[in-house]
């Protein structure tokens, strides 16, 4: 559909009234001194098929159609060569050469169809015939399943522990076990992970123990974070897992800097950074993707699009076709995957890793999933979403069950294995909590260390004064922090 700007104020006002502010007009309506440059055939422009803004689609108007038809006959007869000549002409601007067009066409705000979502297993854990994927061995599959069950059980028990007042806070990864474990399984230990906060499964996969998880949640002296942060703010240097921080999306540009370092040091490794759908609204997301593309950094951006940012659904978060389409805007290769499909996630991350490292490029993966649990122990999501919606995803769409079916179909897993695993895991986790609960907290001195590499004089003075205060008023202070 050809468009042209109105030269006639009256017509413009009239048409504007009909079509709203987009002002996409059919030029043939208007008297125009220049010969037509109109296309012979109607291009299949996204505008015509736009389902979002019917006002933009003039084809419905009978009157206009008739006029356009007349014009197109004229165009056919005598303007082919001049049309071609202009059509092929390139304009040279900073940024490179572009072909020009005399048709004023606005790119639609959304593609004709949503970007397809890559999956390998169907909802019943059966491999979809003809799917391309990275095969998983029995050993790897069982290990993945084991860790998914561990994560699920750990989440349940730690959540209960918070409810019982034993830890101050917790947040679960219910529904996102496949993203956590399968993505981690596709990475190497040398790949640097910068998490948001809903990816403890990646740390679990890498070998962080139940004791270490519990120690951090209790903030006891076994916590490598030295009791400074809220529960679930894990971090482990030896597992190449950067410490979680609460602010959203701040890890994203940092991931690019870390990836640049790997590239410059010529390491056979990449950076993987995780974030949710909400994070993609932050400026740091935009900064990170843009920097990653310009710096040619080997970083994989994994978005856990779980539909909710606390109580804000994705329809209130953005109007694009999810997150995957944003990649191209920055020059980043992207893919959308079924985040609840272990094999799809595993395959996509593995391929992304290959490309990131060998081609020095960022990759964006949008993993579609659902946040089955509440945002955290400070949230009751039934206040803003339907209970049956939650239940549907918890049961019918559970990624653990789905992968469980696959390993069962392969003859690698039985009901006995299942109950034994869950029983043992529950015992281990309960035990870890019981032990961690009794371990004393870090020393008071750890309040003052690590602000800088060495404490400056103002902190030495403050520690001295605080210790005097504690002697005078011991009842003001928790007894489980050794002074």
């Amino acid at each position: 559909m050809a468009v042209w700007l109105s030269r006639s104020g009256n017509v413009a006002r009239h048409l504007n009234g009909k079509m709203g502010s987009l002002g996409i007009l059919n030029r043939s309506l208007l008297s125009h001194p220049e010969p037509t440059h109109q296309r012979n055939s109607l291009p299949t422009s996204p505008i015509e098929q736009s389902y979002r803004n019917p006002a933009a689609f003039l084809g419905n108007s009978g009157t206009l159609f008739a006029v356009r038809h007349f014009e197109s006959i004229q165009a056919e007869t005598h303007h082919d060569s001049r049309y071609d000549e202009h059509e092929n002409q390139l304009l040279d601007f900073p940024g490179g050469k572009v072909k020009f067009t005399s048709d004023m066409i606005f790119i639609s705000e959304s593609p004709d169809k949503r970007i397809k979502c890559y999956r390998v297993l169907d909802d019943n854990g059966r491999q979809i015939p003809g799917s391309s994927f990275q095969p998983l061995s029995k050993e790897l599959s069982l290990r993945i399943y084991n860790d998914m069950v561990t994560l699920q059980t750990m989440d349940t028990i730690f959540y209960e522990a918070q409810r019982q007042g034993r830890i101050s806070f917790y947040l679960t990864s219910n529904g996102e076990e496949a993203i956590n474990i399968a993505s981690a399984a596709a990475l190497a230990i040398d790949d640097i992970v910068l998490p948001q906060y809903r990816e403890p499964g990646v740390l679990l996969w890498r070998g962080f123990t139940l004791k270490e998880f519990a120690d951090q949640c209790f903030g006891n002296k076994g916590d490598c974070g030295k009791g400074r942060q809220m529960p679930i703010h894990y971090g482990s240097r030896k597992h190449n897992y950067f410490t979680v921080s609460s602010p959203i999306a701040t890890q994203l540009p940092q991931a690019v800097g870390a990836a640049y370092s790997l590239k410059m040091d010529k390491k056979d490794a990449c950076v993987v950074t995780y974030f949710g759908d909400g994070a993609t609204s932050e400026g740091d997301f935009h900064a990170a993707l843009n920097f990653a593309a310009v710096m040619e950094a080997p970083v994989i951006f994994i978005c856990r699009n779980n539909g909710w940012a606390i109580s804000t659904s994705t329809s209130e978060q953005f109007r694009s076709d999810g997150v995957v389409v944003r990649g191209q805007a920055y020059g980043v290769r992207s893919i959308r995957v079924d985040g609840n499909d272990v094999i799809a996630v595993y395959s996509a991350v593995q391929r992304a890793r290959e490309m990131a490292i060998s081609e020095h490029r960022p990759i964006l993966i949008e993993a579609l999933t659902y946040r089955v649990g509440h945002h955290s122990t400070s949230d009751d999501s039934t206040k803003y979403r339907a209970v049956d919606e939650i239940e549907h995803w918890r049961s019918a769409r559970d990624p653990v069950t789905r992968f469980g079916k696959w390993i069962e179909l392969n003859g690698w897993w039985s009901n006995e294995n299942e109950s034994e695993l869950r029983r043992n895991m529950r015992k281990k986790i309960l035990h870890a909590i019981q032990v961690a609960e009794k371990v004393e907290k870090p020393l008071l001195a750890d309040l003052f260390t690590d602000v800088y590499d060495h404490p400056p004089s103002n902190l030495l003075e403050q520690e001295r004064l605080l210790r005097e205060t504690i002697k005078r008023h011991p009842q003001d202070y928790p007894p489980d922090v050794p002074v």
């Binding site: 994203l252 690019v256 740091d284 900064a287």
Partner: protein
Amino acid sequence: MATCLKRLRRFASIGRKGQEYSTTCDEPPKLQKSGKTVNLFTAINQALRIALETDPRAYVFGEDVSFGGVFRCTTGLVEQFGRNRVFNTPLCEQGIVGFGIGLAAMGNRAIAEIQFADYIYPAFDQLVNEAAKFRYRSGNQFNCGGLTIRSPYGAVGHGGHYHSQSPEAFFCHVPGLKVVIPRSPNQAKGLLLASIRDPNPVIFFEPKWLYRLAVEEVPEHDYMLPLSQAEVICHGNDITLVGWGAQLSIMEQACIDAEKDGISCELIDLKTLIPWDKETVEASVRKTGRLLVSHEAPVTGGFGAEISASIAERCFLRLEAPVARVCGLDTPFPLVFEPFFMPTKNKILDAIKATVNY
């Protein structure tokens, strides 16, 4: 008096709005090793060059650094060290600092430039919530000590709201960061190298007004000056003056004038604002009994308030007069009204006299 004036030779070539001031000191300045007379941006350029030479994992980046930077501080670096180590970034301060944190967390020296301190605010979250807390929150498993943010700050005569700001106070309130401000080319090179090599994230504010106007002998070799150590650059007995950056040269002029009225001033360059050297300032105030702090940034909530409160706590009974603050007004930095806004020599001189005569 002679000692005080001898040291003032360092500033012999500086003058606001082109006015020269000459000292009455005719003794030649003490020369350290071999040094050429260079200006501030050249001294900084030297420091950056040395940083890149001595550490193969040092990087310099920011907006427009490739061609030499809008203040010429990064001239010639990309030619010598290559586009992988000296590079332009997209126009995005939060990206620059976030990227720098990630680079530093991997053990590199990330030397980032924010083109004007007025534009540092988009990076405030990355600086305060991330860089400052990176080591602490991880239990010292991780750190971004290799991060240094360089940024031109302060009045330039015609900069208005957005090319003149002194935002140091915002960052002085953040445990985990260091804030360093040099007063001259010689100082800048040593302090910048120390900041780059300090294992903590440092924000290094460069007085843009001095980029061309301040010239000094600067040794060509690699040297560092200690952080968190204030320097008494002029000894005196009647009143202590504390300042940093470009303001020191104004304060020196006030000291010279005060000298004529028989007031002996002790002038201290704080250099590092956090963690700051309370001990040196306290020792001086114990001697003089009077304190005056001067900075370009607006007076309310400025760093002068912290110095004033701390010294009042420590030296209350010794003080002969309230601590004076001669600072910028509590307005956005104005264009036409800049001369009225600024803490000028005469405002300082008036305050010195008022304090001494309290």
